[in-house]
Amino acid sequence: MSHHDEENDAAGRADEFLQVFKKGAEFTQDLLKENERLRFRVVKLEETLKDKGHEIVADGPEALELKKKILELEQEKEEILGQIKVVEEENQNFANRYVEIEEENNMLANLYIASYQLHSTLDFKEVLKIIQEIVINLIGAEEFGVLLLDEKTNLLEPVASEGIETSAMPSISVGSGIIGESVGSGENYFIESMQGYERDLHKPIVCIPLKIKEHVIGVIAIYKLFEQKDEFTNVDYELFTLLAGHAATAVFSSRMYSDSERKLSTIQGFIDLLTK
């Protein structure tokens, strides 16, 4: 789904939510009107009782009729109170849904900015820097590395890192260990529990393969989160998957561009040598 579709989808859901909310508000208004009408009826009946008080016999037919009406009104009141409770619960649900939609909108906005930044340059180093900024600022990772696949050797080579020296990071074979397996399968990896985890460069807490469709070109391996970030949220999981695709295409295109620029400059050098 494109950003435009995602935005439309979010806008559609927001409209749907507003429609439901409006209906709820109208229903509450109707209930309030009904309640007002019944109160008015009770007052009228009380006035009638007062006026006719001297004529009404305690167990006479009029008194029985009035008692019946009172009973009916009491029942109606109970029903209305019950309905109000239901409406209040619905309103609470709407409020919760509103918060959820707001969060989703924010996530989409963040993703839009992230992907916009990723595709704003063809400079390979700049793309890597943007990936690092996103992983730090949006995911909340303190220590991580970016490894890219060398298709000739089938090795994942570290190209960027945060909180760890890039040179200290190992090269990893596809299919070997947690990182290699994640790249081999193309599936994200998340550690089951972060409790007692100690950093091991071969055993990260999260692996996000950088994929262009099914073609994996590298991986982001996370080893430590900020101390204020003790767990991943649902939004994080969505972000990981969506980000992996955008980061992968940005890395791939910038690398192709710099390769072609390099080749062009070499060819230009040869041409200059031959023509001078």
Binding site: N106, A114, Q117, I130, E133, L138, F226, K229
Partner: protein, 124 residues
């Protein structure tokens, strides 16, 4: 229209865009961006701002130095300052608040938290 002028000081263009994008959702905010503390100070002296959001870890001049200098400027004694940073330790928070920051928000970026804080400080 509130007509408030807001300065966002952040060295990471991605992060700056995220904050600006979030703030644009509040109607009437006029947002100016600065790359670091020095750039921020330049912009603060060129025009009057009603709210400052700043990162801490920045090249040339960090956010804490900026907060301290802003608070020593008589024009900005009462201007709300929000620090948005990766530093989550209690002592970092206390230090920023002691220097004069009004609020301290930790990364990863939480748009709702930023918007709530801004609305609360600016009463919008």
């Amino acid at each position: 229209m509130t007509g408030y002028k807001v300065l966002v000081v952040e060295d990471s263009p991605t992060m700056r865009q995220l904050i600006v994008f979030a703030l644009k959702r509040i109607r009437g905010f006029q947002i100016v961006e600065a790359n670091d503390g020095v750039d921020g100070l330049k912009k603060l002296s060129a025009e009057k701002f009603d709210l400052i959001l700043t990162d801490i870890n920045m090249p040339i001049m960090d956010g804490l130095k900026l907060v301290s200098m802003v608070r020593n400027d008589p024009n900005y004694k009462e201007t709300p300052i929000i620090v948005i940073t990766t530093e989550g330790a209690t002592e970092d928070r206390e230090r920023a608040l002691a220097l004069g920051a009004n609020e301290y928000i930790t990364k990863p970026i939480q748009t709702m938290k930023i918007l709530e804080t801004v609305k609360k400080l600016m009463s919008v």
